[in-house]
């Protein structure tokens, strides 16, 4: 999944990889192109996670709080500047995790049903501010229920913001006509994807197998 997300990254893009799973993608970025990763806590052009804590610098962490390092051409700045970048539409792409995505592109990724507390963080600004929003998530929840739904039952992060959904089963684009299934994971049939998806999928005429 992270590998497929990495394929979305093109030379010259400014990209934010949201909290949790999507940060893994930073490990799979091709080395021969300039992808500028943005961390909402105040970095542009950072590198992968440092696993050895004795090598970690707490003042060089990504938005998930993990130690990282700066690449040549990096910049550090404060949170307000960081969200000026996000809200002002300066990011080409945001990759976010999700609990649910609706067929109209509504995103729910911050709070569980019935809770008063929750972690919205910068997800709402990334969802509304980035030029393109890709959701990367498991296709179904831990009980096997679809995460791609007709209407989100969980509290929304933002309305009509998702452009693309990448899961362990499929690559789906949200277009005017609806949810278009563009790619399936190796060994997965379009019928299996549909069976695990609540709204009806439109099967793309040039449906292909996911490449990494």
């Amino acid at each position: 999944m992270a590998l497929r997300v990495a394929k979305e990254l093109k030379d010259g893009m400014y990209v934010n990889l949201g909290f949790g799973l999507p940060t893994l993608t930073s490990l799979f970025i091709p080395e021969d192109i300039d992808i500028i990763l943005h961390a909402e806590n105040g970095m542009l052009r950072y590198a992968g996670v440092i696993d050895d804590e004795t090598q970690a610098d707490a003042d060089l962490i990504n938005a998930s709080g993990q130690p990282t390092s700066l690449l040549p051409g990096a910049a550090v700045f404060d949170l307000n500047e960081s969200f000026t970048m996000i809200r002002g539409g300066h990011l080409d792409l945001a990759v976010l995790g999700a609990y649910q995505v609706s067929e109209t592109g509504d995103l729910a990724n911050w709070q569980l049903q019935g809770y008063h507390v929750g972690g919205i963080g910068g997800a709402i600004e990334l969802a509304q501010g980035a030029k393109r929003v890709v959701v990367a998530m498991e296709h179904t929840d831990k009980n096997g229920k679809p995460r791609i739904v007709k209407q989100c039952s969980l509290p929304l992060t933002a309305r009509r913001c998702v452009n693309t959904i990448i899961t362990n089963l499929a690559y789906i684009e949200l277009e005017g006509a609806g949810l278009v299934l563009k790619e399936v994971a190796p060994g997965i049939t379009p019928e299996e994807v549909q069976a695990n998806t609540e709204p009806d999928l439109i099967i793309s005429e040039d449906l292909s197998e996911m490449e990494f």
Binding site: G42, V76, L79, I86, Y115, G118, G119, R159
Partner: protein, 231 residues
Amino acid sequence: MNKVVANLAEAIRDIEDGARIMVGGFAASGGANNLVQALIEKGTKDLTIICTGSPEWMPFVENDRAKKVISGFTSHSLRPEITEVIETKVRAGLLEVETVPHGILSERIRASKAGIPAFYTPIGVGTVFGEGKETKLFDGEECVLERAIEADFALIRGHFGDRLGNLTCRFVARNRNTEMAGAATVTIAEVEEVVEVGDIDPERVDIQGIYVQRVVKAPKIVKWLDGHEAV
């Protein structure tokens, strides 16, 4: 002019019960951990804590010193068991929480510092974050009115500081420290080192002394997001 005070206790001497407090930091970086610890030791309670997430509000919530938490993460992002504890406190009426998107909180804090009483933003429209707020269309896009957020004290962390209150911050430790400095009535900065006036490059002053009322030297304490302290 000498803003350097002798110790942490003196730095926080006039923070009283019921105060509204901004606390700098984001995850393991830039937290005013020494000032927070001193405030816990002083026993000050019924506080409203305005901050990024759990690393900043945990000491106040664990020790029942917070009346309200205003934060981007009112749950704990890595430890569900702590989230359950907080949720239980909220349901029992022992704690009030207000979850505010990181960037909106940042802009509301900056607005307070910059003399802007309110601003419009499309962020939050159609979600619980926009509920109950005044709305207005700009170029056809619905926006909500957000108010500046003020505090009595801001507790921030710098790297170097001088007696005029000029501060530098290391790398991403800038985070909320720069916006909070000057957004509260009194801004108190803990710094790793107090340096001579003139030692800080005028082009490398990250927080100008005009925003800072007190400076106190205190060691760097690193707490990782899961709660463990760096060795």
